[in-house]
């Protein structure tokens, strides 16, 4: 009979190895899923994980996409991870992403057709503020009324989606768009464009921001007292309170940071790769970022790697759709599976598995 024995401290070796193990297990389970769909599993896995980077005819298009997709995922996941570490569960990043995009785009479009170089920086600030403001709703309700932030932040995603529909068909609609929904194309307006900075790499300001966020979060968690408080509050909430950590302040800070980062991600997306505010410009990065945060072990460097891997599954998924006619949602199920396996093998890092003989006292 197998039994679990708690380790005095999580095993460092397993903590690093479990994400890799989870990816391997997901490839196996995903392979089975593709086989059930009547596709060659080996080919499917190769197309998803190898071809986007190394295929002679697709890689030229796919490689830059890696950064384009990883940027928002990393940016959002870094913010979420800070909260998750402190036990603050913001799962409404998708809504904050939408509100950031709307706020930033509104700021820019309000000055249309001005060509001032200050417009894009202003949009960035407005985007961060939009996401921050949206995340302050669950923060204030949590600190004032003890309302569960998980449910409020999530329900606000649906509210944000309705607001997005109203923006795309109403106050942000392109007046020269012949009545079609969707705003002006920001990426075609010089003063509002978030351009590709180095041609052929996919690098844009959002990815620069993601790298800055990774470094800042790393310093914050390892060198700053706030990072210490975040870790303490998550691991030993009572001890944290005795140590003078104000839980409400931490809730407001964590939700605020993750909201602002999600808002930034939304703004960079809408002014760059997506190009415009449309009813469905958001593609669920806010939710996938939750997987990225956990896959990266809530650690900034881990999140960087996990974001790149998850971006790869997006691009590989599109490629698999094209080459093998694997339905698009299969990739979403695949990503969900990854989180399952990760959580399942996590037991190895916090517990030791011991074989116990039945009946021995």
């Amino acid at each position: 009979m197998l039994r679990l024995e708690k380790r005095p401290a999580p095993s460092r070796a397993w903590t690093a190895a479990t994400p890799v193990l989870a990816v391997v297990l997901t490839m196996i389970a995903g392979g089975i899923m593709f086989a059930l769909l009547g596709k060659n599993p080996f080919e499917a896995i190769r197309i998803i994980f190898w071809d986007p980077l190394f295929h002679e005819s697709f890689a030229a298009y796919s490689r830059p996409q890696l950064l384009v997709k990883a940027g928002p995922l990393i940016l959002i996941a870094i913010g979420l991870a800070l909260g998750f570490r402190a036990g603050v569960w913001n799962i409404g990043a998708e809504g904050q992403y939408i509100m950031g995009a709307i706020a930033g785009a509104s700021f820019g479009l309000a000055f249309y057709p001005s060509e001032s170089p200050l417009i894009f920086p202003g949009m960035i600030i407005a985007g961060a503020l939009g996401g921050w403001a949206w995340s302050m709703i669950p923060a204030i309700l949590k600190t004032r009324f003890r309302t569960n932030e998980i449910l409020v932040s999530l329900l606000l995603v649906y509210v944000a989606e309705k607001f997005l529909a109203s923006a795309a068909t109403g106050f942000l609609r392109n007046p020269e768009g012949h009545g079609f929904p969707g705003s002006r194309n920001l990426s075609r307006i010089e003063s509002m464009n978030n351009p590709e900075l180095i041609s052929g790499t996919g690098m844009h300001w959002g990815i620069v921001a993601a790298f800055i966020a990774v470094i800042t979060a790393y310093v914050l968690l390892n060198k700053h007292v706030l990072g210490y408080q975040i870790k303490l509050a998550g691991q030993a909430p009572r001890a944290a309170r005795f140590a003078g950590v104000n839980p409400n302040r931490l809730i407001v800070l964590c939700l605020g940071m993750s909201g602002a980062l999600a808002g930034l991600a939304g703004l960079f997306e809408v002014s760059g790769p997506a190009g415009q505010i449309s009813i469905d410009f958001n593609v669920g990065y806010g939710f996938t970022a939750i997987i990225v945060a956990f896959l990266g072990r809530l650690h900034p460097i881990g999140i960087l790697l996990a974001g790149l891997l998850m971006a790869l599954t997006y691009i590989g998924g599109e490629l698999a759709q094209l080459m093998l006619q694997i339905p698009a949602p299969a990739i979403q199920a695949f990503q969900g599976m990854l989180l399952f396996f990760l959580l399942a093998v996590d037991v190895l890092s916090t517990y030791r598995i011991r074989v116990k003989k039945e009946g021995v006292a």
Binding site: A333, F334, V347, Y351
Partner: protein, 308 residues
């Protein structure tokens, strides 16, 4: 502007509420055993697609409902094994279940949008449903709706007045004490989790087969999360969950009528209202310190690891 007929509104309210009610009553039992399963949305949507696919292919709504229940249960079992045996974090695992369920359901439902499910017959003769006023309200529904109310009554009775209910509550209040008394904490929780999964799956199947009569990607649109909110609103009391579900259904049905009637409020504001009102209700409930503190199961969301 057209008037809104109160009787059709009440009939619509009951239909709209039922999927959420089923999911909420299942989750209520799960939470009573001290487990927080945030995967309700994922189980509901998987139940919706499986129920729909099976009902369309077999021509039997009953088989569809059973398939919805079975698929919800199967998904909940993944959650159960992960959280109870592999001791994973319940919040993260529940989220994983929802993300996985949304992807899986979209995958299973490829090619099904637009199919017509078989009609569901009503248990009462049509003549009874034609009685003015009370006819359509009391006798004009499909069997699942009556079952959902019976289920609320059963859960209320079992939790409050039977030994099984006492054990469930003991496990949810203090799993270490329950374990010391010899109760199989993990087994009891697994059974509750599967019950919750079956309820959520049935709710989903009802949504696709009876209420919408179609399959649309992401059609639950947050109903699973609203069910979770309802459990808090209900202070873990079954009849209050029914009240909450009907209140939510009333708001949803009313806003749909108002949209159809072309009232002078933007459609988006109306469409937001069920979510906004759910948040407001949550705030009101949680601001009352004594009430939430007294009723929330004390071991809710905590990991149980038997050391003895």
């Amino acid at each position: 502007m057209m008037g809104i007929d109160p009787i059709t509104l009440i009939v619509a309210l009951i239909t709209v509420s039922t999927p959420v009610l089923l999911a909420a009553i299942g989750e209520l039992v799960v939470e009573k055993t001290g487990v927080l399963n945030l995967g309700v949305e994922g189980m509901m949507i998987t139940g919706a697609v499986m129920g729909f696919v099976v009902a369309v292919n077999t021509g039997s709504p009953t088989l569809g409902f059973l398939a919805g229940m079975a698929s919800g249960m199967a998904l909940s079992l993944i959650f159960g094994v992960l959280t109870q045996m592999l001791l994973s974090n319940q919040v993260a695992t529940g989220l994983a279940l929802t993300l996985f369920g949304l992807g899986l359901s979209a995958l299973l439902g490829v090619g099904y949008p637009g199919s017509t499910p078989p009609p569901v017959s009503d248990p009462f003769p049509a003549a009874m449903a034609e009685i003015p006023v009370i006819g359509p309200i009391l006798f004009g529904h499909s069997l699942i709706i009556y079952l959902s109310v019976l289920l609320v009554a059963a859960v209320w009775y079992v939790l409050g007045y039977t030994k099984v209910g006492l054990i469930i509550r003991a496990v949810g209040e203090n799993h270490d004490a329950a374990h010391a008394l010899g109760y199989k904490v993990i087994r009891i929780r697994l059974m509750a989790i599967m019950f919750g999964g079956a309820c959520a799956g049935l709710g989903g199947a009802f949504l696709s087969v009876v209420r919408v009569q179609n399959w649309v990607d992401g059609m639950t649109a947050g109903a699973g999360w609203i069910a979770l909110a309802l459990v808090v609103f209900a202070s873990w009391k079954p009849w209050r969950a029914l009240l909450g579900a009907y209140l939510f259904g009333g708001v949803t049905a009313l806003q749909l009528r108002l949209q159809a009637a072309g009232i002078n409020i933007p459609v988006e504001i109306l469409a937001m209202s069920p979510y906004v009102i759910t948040i407001i209700v949550l705030v009101i409930m949680s601001s009352d310190k004594s009430r939430t503190a007294l009723n929330a199961p004390a071991a809710l969301g905590k990991v149980f690891h038997a050391t003895g």
